[in-house]
Amino acid sequence: MSVAILREGDYLIAAILSDLTDKEVVELRGELIAMVGRYRSRGLVIDVSALDVIDSFVARALRSIVLTVRLRGAHTVIAGIQPDVAIALVQFRLNLGPLRAALDLDAARALLDQLTGGEAEDGR
């Protein structure tokens, strides 16, 4: 599997390490949604900094992960979208409004802290 999923406190961090097939994307979505519930995570970071290309299927899948995870009570931040990828993504004309993005993992965690109202920190 080319995705590393780590648990860190109330957050889950999924680092996509190489291009995924459509099937793997679907599997990843299922797994993340299940894990958010199992670990009662409040935030999810999907790190895509290793990806040079994100096609419209993956973009749609990311969007659907964000929306589903939100229904399960957690916020998602996509981290590390590369400049060329960002340009390609906006040209798909998908509604990427629900996607919150951050430059890297640090920024993503800061954004999650803000989105979850810092409760994650307080809970420890």
């Binding site: 979208i81 400049p83 990828v85 960002a86 340009i87 993005a101 430059l103 890297d104 920024a107």
Partner: protein, 310 residues
């Protein structure tokens, strides 16, 4: 290997062929060129002096001193004769490009470069006329060999010169384009991108790319795009702007657009561009204040305001 029927010295030719009837490179097959190259080499000093004199007489290369002309002439002459001999114009192309690189900044014009090459061609042709005038048939054959080679050289030098000029022009255009959209960091993680002049699709695209690169390199959290200097905008460009804002967001930066003129705002509304993602502030000053607030900077005024709030 095809041999012309009117080859001179048939005995010698046959003998040579017998010795060495494997593949022959083209220049070996043309003893006439060999002959004239040898002759031109022999007269090298004289010919290039004559040529340099004619260059000065024709008022070409006015920006260069006589010594410079002579030393360039020597090199061009040698390269020219080499190219005649080998039939290969690659070295000459390289040389012509280098020469162009040296002389273009000094203001040498295209007609001068073509002029000197054609002068050399004429000087050499004259010399051949003078030598072979008694034997018109031989002269004709020599010219048959000389003219295509000489013309090809003239074309090569001309084309190399023009290509070099184009390369310089392209480089300058690239430089202007880059300078026209500076991405400036005015505080840590706060970028400002002033856009001045006409925005077209290509520039908008390039601008987006530069902006995203800068966001990554400076780890920017907030970007202020100021379009005070943009007088008009059309649908394509408006969409590019929206995409630039959206792409910046995907890289984790918030964008504030400032300085929309009355005309631009009206156009945007009339065109019904989706501006829901666009965070706009009236002027650059307001944009910067908003940006500092977003980026979490707290100047004296902001701190006071917070105290009042709490």
């Amino acid at each position: 290997m095809d041999r012309e029927p009117d080859q001179p010295d048939p005995d010698e030719e046959q003998e040579r062929e017998a010795h060495d009837d494997q593949e022959q490179t083209s220049h070996d097959a043309d003893p006439l060129l060999q002959e004239l190259v040898a002759y031109l080499r022999e007269k090298r000093t004289e010919l290039r002096e004559l040529w340099a004199r004619r260059i000065s007489a024709a008022d070409l290369l006015g920006v260069m001193s006589d010594e410079e002309i002579f030393s360039e002439a020597t090199e061009v002459f040698d390269n020219y004769v080499d190219a005649l001999e080998s039939g290969s114009i690659e070295n000459l192309e390289t040389y012509a490009r280098e020469l162009s690189e040296r002389i273009i900044p000094r203001g040498v014009e295209t007609h001068e470069v073509l002029g000197i090459v054609l002068l050399l061609r004429d000087v050499l042709a004259r010399e051949l006329f003078a030598k072979y005038q008694r034997d018109s048939e031989h002269l004709n054959r020599i010219l048959d060999a000389y003219e295509p080679a000489a013309n090809r050289i003239a074309v090569t030098v001309g084309v190399s010169f023009v290509e070099e000029r184009e390369r310089v022009i392209n480089e300058q255009q690239e430089a202007i384009r880059e300078l026209s959209t500076p991405v400036l960091q005015i505080r840590e993680r706060l970028l400002i991108l002033p856009i001045i002049g006409v925005l077209d699709s290509q520039r908008a695209r390039q601008l987006t790319q530069q902006l995203l690169g800068a966001i990554r390199d400076n780890r920017a959290a907030v970007v202020v795009i100021d379009i005070t200097g943009v007088a008009t905008i059309d649908r394509t460009v408006a969409n590019h702007l929206v995409q630039a804002v959206e792409a910046s967001r995907l890289m984790g930066a918030s964008t504030i657009v400032t300085g929309l003129s009355p005309e631009v705002t009206q156009t945007l509304v009339d065109l019904d561009v989706d501006l829901s993602m666009m965070h706009t502030v009236g002027d650059l000053q307001g944009g910067l204040e908003e940006a500092e607030r977003l980026a979490g900077y707290r100047g004296a005024g902001a701190t006071d305001a917070r105290r009042v709030e709490t």
